[in-house]
Symmetry: C2
Subunit: 240 residues, 2 copies
């Protein structure tokens, strides 16, 4: 066998896999920035920033399409096995999750525009706290992916509980405001959806941690994921 | 070449592809039934039915894991090209979407339990209407998949607008109730999230229609998807 040629083939293949990782990381950086900007648009009531977030979502969508195409081409042209196959399938899943994260950021930005039309609710101060947690989950899960770092992926996976706890307390706080003063209902509702969007970003970062674990270890994270949103069964303070 | 052997290989391969379709359709049937039951649990205030929906979600998750495994094995063992490769990648996407649909059904079922603890709001009557639309989208998109029916996939894709319109009007109706009577705020909030979950089911059925189109045609649905949730920019009737 022509050793030189084999090396050449292997290295082109490795390069394609590295390119897939780079695309995911670039997409992840963008999704993380979108979330950060959307949250900033809420706290600073910056409508222009919100508009920029809404407009930039198309870039994330385009990157997802690129990842899909690149991954599908690799599946067709290389006959990937074992860890390489997992890396490609993981790439498809991670890019789908990142696209959804950016979509939630866009929705938060849109709601910030509506929030700007009403007075600020005090509860808005909880948004950067819960948003910051979710943002760090994305950032760290991307690091775990870049370094193929299993302990870090597991650590991020556990952090979803903190986001869920903050979400639950913010939800209750908003409900209380809305009951006390009907003028806060519209803004309160928007903030509830903002909080829910952030809570879902946390879920998606958790999904990504599971995908990364599977990519590296070749088996699923066995532990059951803690389910944190208990507001769906919250009957409200008007109950006995 | 041993023709008999080739036939044998091809037919095993086709059988694996058919099995993938069957798994997706079974999963789809279950997700559709879960949504129907969740909506029925809301209108009939049937707590036991809601509990059954919550419990049955694990079955959908298990089916998704099976699809993932089956599809990944096919990618590894066969070297699928063109339409076969698209069928496998589409299978992965469709099962992810169906898993999310079932997840929304579970969330609706959970919220029905909370709704049962407060008096019924009149707006609840809109839930089976919007829910029925979303359910028929799932049902028809699965038919389009089973029959590889492009016009039907496109038709479902367009129907997302109807769901979005109903969602927007229900959202406004709920907001009005909540402002008029603070005792309706808790239930109103839960119904808003129920409506939002159904609206997202419509989005997912639309996603599925796009995936099916791509699977059959080998190119993306060019038309821009109509974006229908405009409640995120709704400043409320308290605005001038």
């Amino acid at each position: 066998m022509d050793k030189g040629k084999t090396d050449h083939i292997v290295s082109a293949y490795d390069q394609e896999l590295a390119e897939l990782s780079s695309m995911i990381l670039r997409m992840g950086g963008l999704a993380e920035a979108q979330l950060a900007s959307a949250i900033k648009a809420i706290t600073t009531r910056d409508g222009e920033l919100a508009e920029r977030v809404v407009a930039a979502d198309a870039k994330v969508d385009a990157l997802e399409a690129e990842v899909d195409e690149h991954a599908t081409r690799m599946l067709a042209l290389r006959q990937p096995m074992a860890v390489d196959l997992r890396a490609i399938v993981a790439g498809l899943k991670l890019s789908a999750d990142l696209e959804r994260i950016a979509d939630y950021a866009k929705n938060i930005a849109k709601r910030s525009l509506a929030l700007n039309q009403n007075p600020t609710l005090p509860a808005v101060h909880a948004v950067p706290r819960i948003g910051g947690l979710a943002q760090r989950m994305i950032s760290d899960v991307l690091d775990a992916y870049a370094r193929r770092d299993v302990p870090m992926a597991i650590e991020v996976w556990h952090r979803d509980e903190d986001v869920d706890q903050l979400y639950n307390s913010l939800f209750r706080e908003l409900l209380t405001y809305m009951m006390e003063d009907a003028r806060t209902i519209t803004s309160g509702t928007h903030l509830m959806f903002v909080a829910k969007n952030i809570e879902r970003v946390g879920d998606l970062a958790t999904n990504m941690a599971e995908t990364i674990y599977f990519l590296i270890e070749g088996k699923t994270l066995e532990e059951r994921r803690p389910k944190g949103d208990d507001t769906s069964s919250y009957a409200g303070p008007d109950q006995g």
